[in-house]
């Protein structure tokens, strides 16, 4: 009998099963070898999170498959790695991130209205059925990625949602073009921005970021022409946690602008100075948003609102730390995207990024969608491999191997790596 089996037998024979369940984490952390029946340690740090996703509990929420729990009030849920095997992320698996705790659990469409107000000729109010019937429906395949996706990779670590890579998803969004409503209301000359607000509210005092979540886009920004007020996500109504009945879609831009459960569109004649624009979601005005804790402390860093998403690529399969018998080919699969244009190339390395070979790209669904890739790979020797994936887009951006650091924990897009073991086949 091997040592492991003997230990297991003794454990099984000892009666205190309940006590054992309580003690299991301490035991697991100290043990030489972790088992699939051991719980992950509940946090990572102060080093970087080495896992693909964060380490929280898996939890169940209405209209959702079990997802990884970051926080429960307000709700933040992360999508596990295997859902990125598909080009479109299922609605039930789509990650969730709210800022304030009073988020809709019931939406009464008899009451719900989308208002267009502010610096306009004719303030307007639309019911859900008017949005469906009075305007043509447009569609766009677009990636929605949290500004803080992969924040747990940063060194030194920064406070905030400790996402792994799963604060992103790709969907086919359908709805009314923002410009249709702006045209109907008539934007007055001298207007600068358009502000968006949804049904969510917080317990904080009025005028603070903890009371209301508001985001604005410049009217001169070409992305205004591409924005959709989406009432459909992958051919279905949006889950409440993803912004039912209507959410703003800003193709190519980080999700902070994609206001959920949208109720108010306000045209502004001055720059929005609310907390969520003036203080939060700001990045250094430097290449890749890089800076250092020292420069931040010295106050020498010029900060600007976050915008488009840098080019990224990911492994979806095999999942991290898999094992493959020598002599067998496996298909590496994943997705890539960029907020700066179509993905034109994905390269794979099986030697930790020293040499690269091109992956085969899947069908194209426009510039803002995931692009799937695959690569048939056959390990040539026993032992561990460090695979790496990097993408390039049509505007010449290529993923870099330099880590990113800024105080908000935004814009991480370093080349992804995945460990895989080639085992003996006999």
């Amino acid at each position: 009998m091997s040592g492991i089996s003997r230990r297991k037998l003794l454990e099984t024979l000892s009666a205190g099963a309940g006590a054992m369940a309580l003690g299991c984490f301490a035991e697991a952390a100290g043990a030489q070898q972790m088992h699939a029946s051991d719980r992950l340690p509940p946090f990572t740090g102060p080093g970087a999170n080495p896992r693909w996703t964060s380490v929280g509990l898996v939890a169940t929420y209405p209209q959702k498959y079990p997802l990884i729990l970051l926080t429960d009030r307000p709700v933040q849920l992360e999508t596990p790695q295997h859902y990125f095997l598909s080009l479109f992320t299922p609605n039930g698996a789509f990650y969730v991130r709210w800022h304030l705790d009073e988020i809709p659990t019931t939406v009464d469409l008899a009451e719900w209205r989308l208002e267009v107000t502010g610096n306009v000729e004719k303030p307007l109010k639309f019911s859900f059925s008017e949005l469906l019937s009075r305007f043509p429906s447009s569609s766009v395949a677009a990636v929605n990625q949290c500004s803080g996706n992969s924040r747990s990779r940063l060194q030194p670590r920064v406070p905030g949602g400790q996402w792994g890579n799963g604060a992103m998803g790709n969907a086919m969004w359908s709805g009314v073009r923002l410009t249709e409503l702006l045209r109907a209301a008539g934007v007055k000359p001298g207007s600068l921005q358009v502000q968006f607000q949804g049904m969510d509210r917080g317990k904080g005092p009025v005028g603070h970021g903890s009371n209301a979540f508001l985001k604005s886009l410049d009217l001169s920004n070409p992305v205004i022409e591409e924005c959709l007020l989406a009432y459909e996500m992958n051919g279905e109504p949006l889950p409440l946690l993803n912004g039912f009945p209507v959410r703003l879609v800003v193709p190519g831009y980080f999700a902070t602008y994609w206001v959920k459960a949208l109720t108010n569109i306000r045209v502004l004649d001055k720059t929005d100075e609310n907390f969520w624009m003036k203080s939060a979601y700001r990045i250094p005005d430097t290449p890749r948003g890089m800076t250092t804790p020292e420069d931040v402390k010295a106050g020498t860093v010029k900060m600007i609102p976050i915008g488009r998403m840098p080019v990224r690529s990911f492994f979806a399969a095999p999942e991290a730390d898999g094992k493959v018998p020598l002599g067998m080919s496996v298909t590496l699969r994943g997705i890539a995207f960029s907020g700066y244009g179509r993905v034109t190339r994905v390269d794979i390395s099986d030697d930790d990024g020293k040499t690269w070979a091109p992956a085969q790209l899947g069908p194209e669904y426009g510039a803002y969608s995931f692009r799937t890739w695959e690569f048939s790979w056959k390990p040539q020797r026993r032992g561990p491999y460090t695979l790496a994936v990097r993408a390039a887009d049509e505007t010449g951006n290529v993923q870099s191997d330099e880590p990113v650091w800024n105080p908000g924990g935004y814009l991480w897009n370093r080349i992804e790596r995945q460990q895989i073991m080639a085992g003996a086949a006999q």
């Binding site: 946090f43 169940t60 079990p66 926080t71 939406v107 406070p159 905030g160 400790q162 203080s279």
Partner: protein, 151 residues
Amino acid sequence: MTRSPEFRGGKEAGSTRPLGLFFLSAAAIVLAAATLLYAQSERGDYTQRNLGSLAQPVVPAATDDAKYSVGSYPLYWPELEAGEGKGLVTGYCNTCHSPRYVLMQPPLTRDQWAAEVTKMMKTFGLEMPESDRAIVINYLAEHYSPETRKK
């Protein structure tokens, strides 16, 4: 329907009976050898530990009116470390958000925790007397810094 190459009908098997017997005894020898060779393989390994489990939620019955409802969202109340200040931390933080926000963070230094508490007060409007502020920061640093965090 074309038959897959692995599929063998009764007729073919019957016509090769003497050969079949030979293969059967050969297979038995191979199996015995394999048993010795693969003694490292394990079966039936279960443990008393469990990873926790999830109850399936009730899906509320849909009505044909204009209301679209999911009922209420579940809370997963966190186990914060026992110690002086736990009640204050739970009380103040829970005004706007679940104390799970504390556990979700990586271990933060005392300075980082102090900055977080300052942000909650100055930026987000939390009102807290100075004496409580010191206790809250101390609790967070005592239990959730790189040197002190256990779970």
